[in-house]
């Protein structure tokens, strides 16, 4: 039984990594939201399996919260934003996709090396996934650096948070409930603020290209 569940968690973890790469390569904003929702679903599945195996009820709540928030609510808000801002255009990337994939692979190897010595200390049932979680954090970080439009940057930020939740599940079998609630609240408020922001940015610059936001520097 535990064998199967460990296999399952590893499967979900690799799924998460795959989605992180898919996000790096995805050019269309609408599809990015789709991938983000799938990522959320994967985290929900992984959390539920850990909850089932370790019999921790609070992990079920955490999974339910992730489901409501990151699979339904936030993607719904993002889609509405896209619709109201009318931005279904392509996302251009600064470096070309193959070289980005290569850099991504280097990042994965790096995070596996980083996680290797400490993974054995993990108290959870699947210590091997810590490296994957770390890799997803770094990949989302890279996505934020390489994107020049506002919404993809935000999605990168959100997917980083997804990876962190997964890290918490895989390394420690979940943080205490108060903390998870606080994190979820922060993320939700953050998304609302960003939504407000995008309208303000568009109003001022008539575009959501972040490259307009490069005037503040020393002369």
């Amino acid at each position: 039984m535990t064998d199967l569940s460990i296999q399952l968690i590893n499967l979900f973890a690799s799924f998460l990594l795959l989605l992180a790469f898919a996000m790096l390569a995805q050019r269309r904003v609408v599809n990015l939201v789709q991938i983000y929702a799938m990522q959320g679903l994967t985290v929900v599945a992984a959390t539920s399996v850990v909850a089932y195996v370790t019999h921790q009820n609070q992990l079920y709540y955490s999974a339910a919260m992730t489901l409501v928030l990151k699979v339904f609510l936030i993607p719904w808000i993002l889609r509405r934003l896209i619709k109201r801002l009318d931005i279904r255009w392509d996302v251009e990337t600064l470096i070309n996709i193959p070289s980005m994939m290569l850099i991504g692979i280097v990042l994965v190897i790096f995070s596996f090396n980083l996680a290797l010595p400490i993974a054995s200390l993990s108290t959870s049932i699947s210590p091997g996934t810590l490296g994957i979680a770390l890799a997803c954090v770094l990949l989302s970080f890279m996505m934020m650096i390489t994107r020049s439009k506002a919404l993809p940057q935000v999605i990168g930020f959100l997917s980083m948070e997804n990876a962190l939740v997964f890290a918490a599940t895989s390394a420690t079998s979940g943080m205490p409930m108060v903390v998870e609630l606080g994190i979820a609240l922060d993320v939700l408020v953050g998304v609302f603020i960003l939504g407000v922001f995008m309208f303000q940015i568009r109003e001022q610059f008539e575009s959501l290209d972040i490259s307009h936001l490069e005037n503040l520097k020393e002369e």
Binding site: L114, P117, I118, L121, S122, T123, L134, V137, F141, M144, A150, Q153, F157, M160, E161, L164, A167, A168, A171, T172, M175, P176, V178, V179, G182, I183, L185, D186, V189, G190, I193, L194, V196, F197, Q200, I201, E203, Q204, F205, I210, H212, L213, E214, N215, L216, E218, E219
Partner: protein
């Protein structure tokens, strides 16, 4: 009702009330009222701590000891004086059409909420809640930085949000790793995220995990402290937001973030048995001093200039805590206090000076001493205080930091001195003509609130000459807790 409850509940209630009626003409008075009530509650809490020593509250979720009590009082005090300052300041901004009714409501409500988040971060014993409160403090101020809706302020707020968001995400990873290390050694049934519990078992925590956790925590919270090379958001956010917000960001939020770093350092030191954490902080600190000082030379905007000075000072404090030892820690704590007082005083004076001149570009601000002698003197004295002239408190703390650097890290002392000298030259040469030059601008419509400026400077002066017994006692105790 316990005073701690009042300290946290007052600003939270204030944000609700002001969210409903903040746009009314007396919204600014209500804002002052709530800030004053918070300050009173903090004073009440302080007297309790002076009498009874450290306390736990609410199932150990809150914890007040010598390390955070003076920060709580300082935060409540500067929160109060800033609310006094923002009364005339925001009124003038409103008259000039920069703020609408709904923006005023947002401003006051978020101001109170921001104070609440900082006080929560300072008093909580739970490392997870500390993270949540730090992130919430960022979120509350993002909309305040962009409140003028100019292209520059939007850009600053976006940068602030994204950079601090990414930074604070690293801190969450650090917290997760800390939790992972703690689960191994803490008995079941004991909450492994509570700092006091972690502190009790810190020597048993796994060094490998703790080293990695500390790196992430330092980078994460260090972004909010404004440590170079993660400081890019800070000058923009300080320069483009309303000046009262610059004052609280510089005077308070940076301190709170640094407080989080110090709490983490205590745990890392215990687990690692070496100076890894200290060395990292020394490196980041010195780099920030140099980057801050040399960037000062290129500034034209007065608020940008003083925000680079904040980076420099945060570097000095981080360096002091990195060095460790009773004297350097004591000096670091004193510097945190005096810097917060002086820098917010400088921002108050700068705010009125910039409002008077109608610009933040330093070349166009001239002759303050003729138009409004009090603003001019306030700016001059504040500048001297922030530059570490005796007899202000910063002189005392910088002197202690330098002398302990000469003992412990002789190579670092010249670097620090260089940074201080460059900062002195850069700031003084620009402030002097602003205060004493020729001018022909008009007076302001509403009398500026200068009481806070001189109150803060008076306190900074007092701390340079004499430190009250209980404060001294806290500093000594907190320095011992930090160790090093």
């Amino acid at each position: 009702m316990s005073p701690l409850f009042l300290v946290l509940a007052t600003p939270l209630l204030g944000s609700l009330v002001l969210g409903i009626m903040g746009h009314r003409p007396n919204g600014r008075n209500v804002n002052v009222f709530f800030s004053f009530a918070t300050f009173l509650a903090a004073v009440f809490l302080t007297t309790r701590i002076v009498a009874d020593g450290p306390i736990f509250a609410l199932n150990q979720q809150f914890f007040i000891d010598s390390l955070n009590i003076f920060l709580v009082t300082l935060t409540a005090f500067i929160g109060f004086t800033t609310s006094v300052f923002s009364r005339p300041y925001m009124r003038i901004e409103e008259d000039r059409g920069k703020m609408s009714h709904s923006r005023m409501r947002l401003y006051f409500s978020m101001y109170q909420l921001f104070n609440f988040c900082m006080l929560l971060a300072l008093t909580t014993n739970n490392m997870g809640i500390l993270w949540v409160a730090m992130e919430a403090a960022t979120l509350t101020t993002v909309l305040l930085v962009s409140v003028y809706r100019t292209p520059a302020s939007l850009e600053a707020a976006w940068k602030y949000f994204i950079l601090c968001g990414v930074g604070i995400a690293q801190a969450l990873l650090g917290t997760i790793l800390l939790y992972m290390a703690a689960q191994k050694v803490i008995a079941p049934g004991v909450n492994p995220l509570l700092w006091s519990n972690l502190n009790a078992v810190k020597t048993l925590l796994n060094p490998g995990v703790m080293a990695l956790a500390f790196v992430f925590l330092l980078v994460g919270y260090g972004t909010k402290v404004g440590l170079a090379p993660l400081h890019n958001w800070l000058p923009d956010a300080h320069a483009e937001g309303p000046t009262p917000i610059s004052a609280v960001l510089s005077g308070l939020l940076l301190n709170v973030a640094l407080y989080a770093v110090i709490r983490c350092k205590i745990l890392a030191d215990g687990a690692l048995h070496n100076h890894f954490a200290g060395h990292l902080m020394i490196g980041f600190g010195l780099l920030s001093v140099l980057v801050g000082a040399f960037s000062l030379l290129r500034q034209r905007d007065i608020k940008r200039m003083f925000s680079y000075s904040s980076i420099e000072h945060m570097g000095i404090i981080t360096f002091a805590f990195g060095m460790g030892g009773p004297i350097a820690n004591f000096a670091g704590l004193l510097h945190m206090t005096v810097h917060a007082l002086s820098k917010s005083a400088v921002f108050y004076a700068v705010g009125h000076a910039a409002q008077k001149a109608g610009t933040q570009i330093m070349e166009n601000i001239r002759g303050l001493i003729k138009v409004s002698p009090t603003v001019g003197w306030g700016l001059m004295m504040g500048t001297l205080a922030i530059l570490g002239m005796p007899p202000f408190g910063i002189f005392a703390s910088e002197f202690m930091i330098l002398t302990s650097a000469m003992h412990q890290l002789p190579w670092a002392a010249p670097v620090l001195l260089l940074g201080l000298a460059v900062a002195f030259g850069a700031i003084f040469s620009r402030v002097q003509p602003m205060v004493f030059g020729e001018t022909n601008v008009k007076r302001l419509a509403h009398p500026p609130a200068l009481l806070p400026v001189f109150l803060h400077l008076g306190l900074a002066l007092m701390l340079g000459l004499y430190i009250p017994g209980y404060l001294n006692h806290w500093f000594v105790q907190a320095a011992a807790i930090i160790g090093g």
